[in-house]
Symmetry: C2
């Protein structure tokens, strides 16, 4: 069905774009050299979940999930790295 394909293509775009959130957050930390009110627990949990979604995407052979969560898992890692390097002042 064309509609399926369209929605899947849309999700293959919006998925990684949505997870660009982690890169905006990592940029904010690295540029201000301060992790201020960014939650270490929260972003650490999200690394575990994003990797689970990645394996699940591979398991059910769902491209949008795979694309989005490769981007997300890497981004969340950068955020946690930033929080560790630049702890709350």
């Amino acid at each position: 069905m064309v509609r399926n394909k369209l929605f899947e293509n849309y999700m293959s775009c919006i998925g990684p774009i949505g997870n660009s959130m982690f890169y905006f957050q990592a940029y904010e930390i690295f540029s201000s050299k301060n992790s201020g009110s960014v939650s270490l627990i929260g972003f650490s949990i999200s690394i575990i979940a994003l990797n689970s979604w990645l394996f699940y995407g591979v398991y059910i052979k769902n491209k949008p999930l795979i694309f989005a969560n490769i981007v997300g898992a890497l981004g969340a890692f950068f955020v946690v790295l930033g929080i560790i390097i630049y702890p709350k002042i």
Copy 2:
């Protein structure tokens, strides 16, 4: 297949738990009354993506996606609300 069911049940748990990240982040903002280095652009983008994932989950009738993204969309909304109420000092 039992393995399918098991993985799906695991994702139905880890999905919402993963998106609890938004609630940890919102709590951090509301308790410190400061959104410090939390990225407004990043979390605003994630609201759009989370809602897209929610509709996609409904569309492909995928329970883990539905559960996770109801939790996530609401949580991301609280974070953005927090950033607006308590802008960076």
